[in-house]
């Protein structure tokens, strides 16, 4: 059975996670009982039935791009029987134990198998709203700032940039209605940002200015503040605090996060359900004790 077929099988067999664990647990138990059965009586019959023959033929077809002849099919069946016998005997001899490669392969198969377990129906608004409220930090929109800035190039002379900025600030304080857009040095930097988060401001102007904008007074010019580009006078026009938007505005995002968490939780529950059936003891050296690790 191919892996995707196995996945489908599992999805089909149960939608209900709890039932799923029970069935899977029972399956594992049967598998365990089967493998650990010492008497060969129950395992010494091998039937290559029609389904198996069909699988062999399809596998052959994939490789050779034609169906196998009767003779080839008989050969495939014999080979399958040989593999099955040697496989069972190897299991009986415990050759799968302590083999790192086999252990990893088995673990991987289990992980692949249950990777898609969490695929479920679309969540309801109630579910999403509850999830959003209990994970408010994750969905809270950061504080938004709108501000204007006047730039002074400090590349040629930092002193003269500083002087120009201070002089202009005095004028703007005296005459707040001054048309400011054409003042200061020309620059490719935006003259204003609207509804920008701290991260947006840092991306456009660098971290230092983002901090300055955060602390600058509201609705009046202040500065000069230094950035990686030069000096700036700032006027913050609006500060919107961080807030949790209504669900309808961020439904897609919440849905994605919800599914993602469900997927992780299902995987974890699956593992924990298995783990509960074991008594686990880990003996780490006491703090301070050195392990005698051999150098390679």
């Amino acid at each position: 059975m191919g892996l995707s077929a196995a996945n489908k099988f599992f999805k089909w067999i149960v939608r209900e996670p709890l039932l799923h664990f029970l069935v899977l647990g029972a399956g594992l138990f049967l598998l365990y009982a089967h493998v650990s059965d010492d008497s060969p009586g129950s395992t010494n019959s091998i039937v290559v039935d029609e389904a198996e023959v069909l699988r062999l033929a399809e596998q052959f077809q994939r490789t050779w791009m034609r169906p196998p002849s009767r003779q080839e099919l008989a050969g495939l069946a014999e080979d399958f029987v040989k593999e099955e016998i040697l496989y069972r005997e190897a299991l009986a001899l415990g050759l799968d134990q302590d083999d790192l490669v086999i252990r990893r392969r088995m673990r991987q198969k289990m992980e692949f198998l249950n990777a898609d377990l969490a695929e479920q129906q679309a969540p309801s608004d109630e579910q999403l709203r509850a999830y959003m409220n209990s994970h408010a930090d994750k969905f809270r929109q950061p504080a938004r700032l709108s501000f204007e800035q006047i730039y002074f190039a400090a590349e040629q002379s930092a002193d003269s940039a500083q002087r120009k900025a201070v002089t202009l600030l005095a004028r703007l304080e005296a005459e707040p209605e001054t048309v400011w857009q054409e003042l200061g040095d020309p620059t490719l930097l935006p003259a204003a940002l609207t509804d920008a988060s701290d991260r947006d401001i840092a991306a456009a102007f660098g971290g230092a200015l983002a901090e300055a904008v955060g602390d600058a007074p509201l609705k009046r010019w202040s500065g000069p503040y230094e950035s990686t580009y030069g000096l700036h006078l700032l006027r913050v026009t609006e500060r919107a605090p961080a807030n949790l938007p209504p669900l309808r505005e961020i439904r897609a995002l919440v849905g994605r996060e919800w599914s993602n968490e469900r997927r992780q939780q299902a995987n974890e529950r699956f593992y924990q359900a298995l783990r509960e059936r074991y008594s686990v003891e880990i003996r780490l050296p006491a703090a301070g004790d050195k392990l005698a690790v051999r150098q390679p």
Binding site: G2, L188, P190, A204, T228
Partner: protein, 637 residues
């Protein structure tokens, strides 16, 4: 996110664009001069700004564990993680380090190899379909072991694949379809118009005896159209002409739009910008038209080396030898010889294009430029201080600098030689599939080596110094010229083309050293020439009569501490430059190259963090750069 930079406009602008866009389409009479000029002076300076004011940064070339080689190299991160990381969220990389971008990207194309898409999962899980062969069983075992065994398996897979000796058919529709539909579903899920663009796409992995002709194929369309066909594979054909035919078939069938972006000419051993077609035919008008139609862009820079210029081809360009990989082809099965170089680098390709155009009137190599990562870790992480490597075998570790990244018979590329590069910058009206795709189609793009500087480049006939002092250079640029990727024709008598070029540094990276304009043209002997001009330099340095500034900007990098200071260089540069050597009878191209001051290379951050010695040969400082799409000048017939 620089998308808000240089935008003093709002949504109203997008509406304006839509209006002017459709107006254009109505009638060709609209192109008459008097109609395109604004009839009346408006009061608000923001009215009539129907041009793109946002530059968006993205990666058009990202691999996840679905790519056979990525998975085998140890990448365990799938589509979800790739998108989450690109959008700025934290994920855990395959080798265990937590990873997060300094700034999110604005768009991404997850471009997994179409050949053997999903094969890795079959090797990993021991699917009967691949366990029927010795190689499948061996690779299955190696993947289980992980570590070097897994990397060796990946290299073997790449080699067999490169040589056309891969043991399975890699285009079996039964295997491809479910994987392809997963790819489409994931792009649909994460595409968020206006905020984040997830393109549907894949990589067509054409190799001819190990020579790289790879192309990333990008869909403008949504899932309903993309689902109607499967991706094109190497198993279908290695010839780009067949890819173009396939793309045409898709468009005819679905009404959709595709474009393809070739990359890594530096590993193509001369056949990326060849003098004949792959099948040995002559490059003619028909070939040139089709190549222009389907391949408007070239990926000039990425982790597997920078491909703008090669020092042997451009001996007078002291910046040409940047992150150069020139030992051989993709699997190092054939060594590189000097005569191959002209068919490999963006600049030489552009020059060859002019020569062909001289012969039969159409330019086969008329492409714009972008950069991208080609990361195989699901992480487009190429910030120098945050570099996660080419593939999961070379994710951050004290040893990776001396791990083999690529190798074969004729040499190997060590970990320290990886370039932490690059991103695609696109001037678009909004962050949507349609707007970004259309900007790519008109080549209004530039490549960066990972830094996010904003670069404007316009060509026209009457730009003046005044325009360089303007507060809105883009107003003049669009009103009286064409942007990067555009064409100049019909030189007015006695006029030389002038260029308005401006660059604003990345807030988180180094200051700017200089802006250069690189000109290529066809001389009267039919041979293409090139020349580099410095047009704006920092710190009051002088540009000499030959148009060059030979004084280096200096170096403030403290390698040991992996720091630098912005006490040299300029935060922004702007200039108007007029070609002093213009001949109206000679076809030419011009593109801008912006160079930053030296900053620590990723190797310096790594040496500091792991407290290790880098090999002597490793570069420890870098000068990040940007390459714009060219503007072409075509004389009257």
């Amino acid at each position: 996110m620089l998308s808000s930079i240089l935008s003093r406009t709002s949504l109203a602008m997008a509406a304006l664009v839509a209006v002017s866009g459709s107006a254009y389409a109505t009638t060709s009479a609209m192109f008459d001069k008097e109609h395109t000029k604004a009839e009346r002076k408006e009061f608000s300076p923001y009215v009539n700004r129907g041009y793109p004011t946002n530059v968006y940064f993205g990666d058009t070339h990202l691999h996840t564990s679905l790519s056979m080689d990525a998975g085998t190299f140890g990448n365990r991160l799938g589509l979800d993680e790739a998108y989450r990381f690109t959008r700025g969220e934290e994920v855990t990389a395959s080798k265990g380090f937590k990873a997060k971008l300094g700034r999110p990207l604005d768009f991404v194309v997850v471009a997994d190899h179409s050949d053997g898409m999903g094969f890795f999962d079959m090797f990993a899980s021991g699917d009967p379909a691949v366990m029927d062969k010795e190689e499948g069983r061996r690779w299955n075992k190696a993947i289980g072991e992980g570590g070097q065994a897994s990397v060796d398996a990946a290299l073997e897979i790449i080699t067999l694949f490169s040589q056309g000796k891969f043991p399975w058919r890699t285009n079996n529709p039964k295997m491809m379809k479910p994987v392809w539909h997963n790819v489409i579903d994931a792009a649909e899920k994460y595409n968020d118009p206006g905020k984040f663009t997830a393109f549907i796409g894949y990589e067509w992995t054409s190799l001819v005896k190990g020579n790289n002709l790879h192309r990333v194929v990008i869909y403008r369309d949504g899932g309903n159209q993309a689902r109607q066909t499967l991706p094109f594979t190497l198993a279908d054909s290695a010839d780009p002409e067949d890819l173009w035919e396939f793309m045409k078939t898709y468009e005819d069938k679905t009404g959709g739009d595709l474009l393809a972006i070739p990359h890594n000419g530096n590993l193509a051993n001369g056949i990326m910008f060849d003098i004949e077609t792959l099948s040995g035919g002559a490059i003619d008008k028909d070939y040139a038209e089709r190549r222009q139609r389907w391949e408007p862009l070239y990926e000039t820079t990425q982790i597997k080396g920078d491909g703008e210029a090669h020092p042997l081809l451009s001996p007078d360009d002291e910046f040409a030898d940047y992150e150069t990989w020139d030992l051989g082809n993709l699997d190092m099965s054939q060594a590189k010889t000097d005569d191959m170089l002209a068919g490999e680098y963006a600049r030489s390709g552009l020059k060859r294009g002019l020569e062909f155009e001289q012969k039969f009137g159409v330019n086969p190599y008329k492409f714009g430029q972008i950069g991208s990562t080609d990361s195989h870790t699901s992480l487009p992480a190429v910030e120098e201080n945050n570099f996660f490597g080419k593939h999961s075998g070379v994710e951050p570790s004290p040893e990776r600098a001396m791990h083999v990244t690529l190798g074969g018979e004729h040499g190997k590329i060590m970990g320290y030689e990886m370039a932490s590069s690059g991103y695609a910058a696109v001037w678009a009206t909004e962050n949507t599939r349609a707007a970004i795709f259309d900007a790519m189609s008109r080549k209004e793009t530039y490549a960066t080596t990972g830094s996010r500087m904003a670069v404007r480049f316009f060509g026209g006939w009457d730009f003046t110094e005044e325009d360089a002092r303007s507060r809105q250079p883009a107003d003049a640029g669009y009103a009286r010229g064409v942007p990067m990727g555009g064409d100049l024709r019909h030189a007015p008598t006695g006029k030389s083309p002038s260029f308005l070029v401006a660059a604003l540094k990345d807030a988180l990276s180094g200051n700017l050293d200089r802006i250069q304009i690189i000109k290529g043209w066809v001389g009267n002997d039919g041979k293409a020439q090139e020349r580099v001009y410095d047009v704006a330099v920092s710190d009051g340095r002088k540009i000499d009569n030959n148009g060059r500034c030979k004084t280096p900007v200096g170096n403030t990098v403290d390698v040991e501490k992996a720091t630098w200071s912005n006490t040299i260089g300029a935060p922004e540069l702007i200039a108007v430059w007029t070609d002093p050597d213009f001949d109206p009878n000679q076809r030419a191209f011009y593109y801008a190259r912006v160079i930053e001051i030296p900053t620590p290379r990723w190797t310096a951050y790594e040496a500091m963090r792991f407290n290790i010695e880098m090999p002597k040969e490793a570069e420890m400082a870098t000068q990040e750069r940007a390459y714009t799409s060219p503007i072409w000048y075509t004389p009257k017939k």
